[in-house]
């Protein structure tokens, strides 16, 4: 019987495994890939680890630091291990069934840390119609091809979505000599971090805001895509369509937390985050099952993903020591105006917590308030692309009654 079984060997799972082992737990780490690291080994650009390691690393380097620790600490792990089933027998008995090169295996754990990451949204999900031809990739697929296997997916590329992944792939294609003909963004503002939006200027890549790709045409491979302009309600403006010739269409339309196995065993999912409902130790509504990283909510910095992994490990330890997390007077954290994503959902006031949030729309000169505890912060700007991470101190939380609301409002000048 393991103390904790960690599902997923990306940054959240690796950080959770190292932390849990250091806390003295008996750990098993399972990953479906041939190698540990999740998507980090293919994220070859710099910009990782500034918060966590206080230096700038590439994705593979960030992963390497944790993988080295996994080996040094002799943490038991399987790669090529695809989890088929989680079975929740009791609070302290959970079975995980996985397939591996040696066949189907069953393992038992007192707790589970679910760190299975996210999946990409694909072309059909964003309403693109037309010919089903070669040359349509998600950004992550193209990244795997280029940066793990050394294969160029195309020469003339149109990218759907100006989030970080789309912008980073625009740079990769441009650096490798492909022509990035356009980045098409549905919203009236770019979706990525400011430092990544700069990439467009570096390579003189046109950005079409308030536009969307609606159709693909081609015989064997993509030959052209149809782009239309949208109004403020994101409705197509008739007569605004034009075609862009290209051989490759890259879809970078956001990530969705991968919660399939959690849903199957009845964990409550937050429809706005796409991830599970959790308390401050990142425990789901199923006792003893914790979640971290992009399976919890989509993060923009890997540093926070690792932080969540460590917190889930602490949760697992507390759970085992107390035969379950002692029931607390949970205070509900509620979304107020211009708050779209928010986690955790329940906090106790027994410890300081970091809350992670995203706004619905950009705003300048901002007041972030928590009226029930009279906390207020001022920020020059908030954007949906940049996650807010705010510390609430235990003594602040204790001032609240049953709930605490987070409001993002325009500050008075």
């Amino acid at each position: 019987m393991y103390d904790t079984i960690i599902i997923g060997g990306g940054p959240a799972g690796l950080a959770a495994a190292v932390k849990a082992k250091k806390l003295g737990l008996k750990v098993l780490l399972l990953d479906e890939n041939e190698f540990l690291g999740g998507i980090l080994p293919q994220c070859i650009h710099p910009g990782f680890g500034l918060h966590y390691f206080k230096e700038e690393l590439t994705g593979p380097e960030f992963a390497h630091r944790f993988i080295r620790e996994i080996n040094e600490l002799n943490i038991e792990h399987y790669t090529n291990a695809y989890v088929l089933e989680i079975e929740n027998y009791s609070d302290l008995e959970k079975k995980v069934v996985f397939s591996s090169p040696e066949g189907v295996k069953e393992v038992w754990g007192k707790t589970i840390i679910y760190a299975a990451g996210a999946r990409e949204r694909h072309a059909f999900e964003i309403g693109i119609v037309g010919d089903r031809v070669a040359g349509i990739y998600t950004a992550g697929e193209a990244q795997t091809l280029m940066d793990i296997y050394g294969v160029m997916p195309g020469k003339e590329v149109v990218i759907v979505g100006s989030g970080d992944v789309g912008l980073i792939m625009a740079r990769r294609f441009a650096l490798e000599g492909a022509k990035v003909k356009a980045v098409i963004e549905l919203m009236p503002y770019p979706g990525g971090l400011a430092r990544n939006v700069m990439i467009l200027r570096d390579f003189e890549i046109p950005l079409y805001l308030s536009h969307k790709v609606v159709e693909v045409r081609g015989r064997k491979r993509v030959e052209k895509v149809k782009v239309v302009k949208v109004d403020e309600n994101l409705k197509e403006i008739s007569g605004s369509g034009f075609w862009i010739e290209c051989d490759t269409l890259l879809i970078s339309a956001g990530l969705i937390p991968n919660v399939k196995l959690l849903k199957k065993i009845g964990a409550q999912i937050d429809p706005l985050n796409g991830g599970p409902i959790v308390n401050e130790l990142l425990e789901t509504t199923i006792p003893g099952i914790f979640v971290a990283g992009n399976a919890l909510l989509i993060n923009d910095l890997v540093d926070y993903v690792a932080e969540q992994g460590e917190l889930a490990a602490l949760g697992a330890k507390e759970f085992i020591e107390n035969q379950g997390i002692p029931s607390r007077k949970w205070i509900k954290l509620k979304r107020g105006s211009n708050v779209r994503i928010l986690a955790p959902h329940y906090i106790s006031g027994e410890r300081d917590v970091y809350i992670y949030a995203r706004v619905s729309r950009p705003m300048e000169n901002v007041r972030v308030t928590f009226p029930e505890i009279r906390k207020e912060l001022r920020l020059p700007v908030v954007k949906p692309s940049e996650m807010l991470r705010i510390k609430l101190k235990a003594e602040e939380i204790q001032k609240a009654g049953k709930e605490i609301t987070m409001e993002v409002e325009k500050g008075e000048v």
């Binding site: 710099p46 390497h64 793990i148 650096l175």
Partner: protein, 109 residues
């Protein structure tokens, strides 16, 4: 995160910098206007490795106008597995004062 810096340039010389929130921001903004630099990343071929490529980066930012030439150079290079993280792949490429280092570990096949 980050700030928006304005740099006023007259006859190719920096006249005024405003909007920065730290000395680093000021330095960066001046450099960005006078001679922009970027860290370059790519993958190069690996012979007899578990993976066909290894990711690399420059250990310092490269002047932007040298980047296409550097990318062409990297496309021609091949290393033999195993490769360690931090292993120097090229010293002073194109006579630039920097190294190209491996950022991924690739074991022998």
């Amino acid at each position: 995160m980050g700030c928006t810096v304005e740099v006023e340039v007259e006859n190719g010389r920096v006249k005024e910098v405003s909007g920065h929130k730290c000395p680093r921001g000021k330095e960066w903004a001046i450099e960005e206007v006078i001679s922009p630099k970027r860290v370059v990343m790519s993958v190069i071929k690996v012979k007899d490795g578990k993976l066909p490529t290894v990711s690399v980066k420059t250990d310092k930012p490269v002047p932007k106008d040298k980047i296409p030439e550097l990318m062409k150079l990297l496309a021609k290079i091949e290393v033999k597995a195993p490769v360690e993280v931090g292993q120097v792949i090229l010293e002073k490429p194109l006579n630039l004062d920097m190294k190209v280092v491996a950022t991924r570990e690739v074991d022998s096949a």
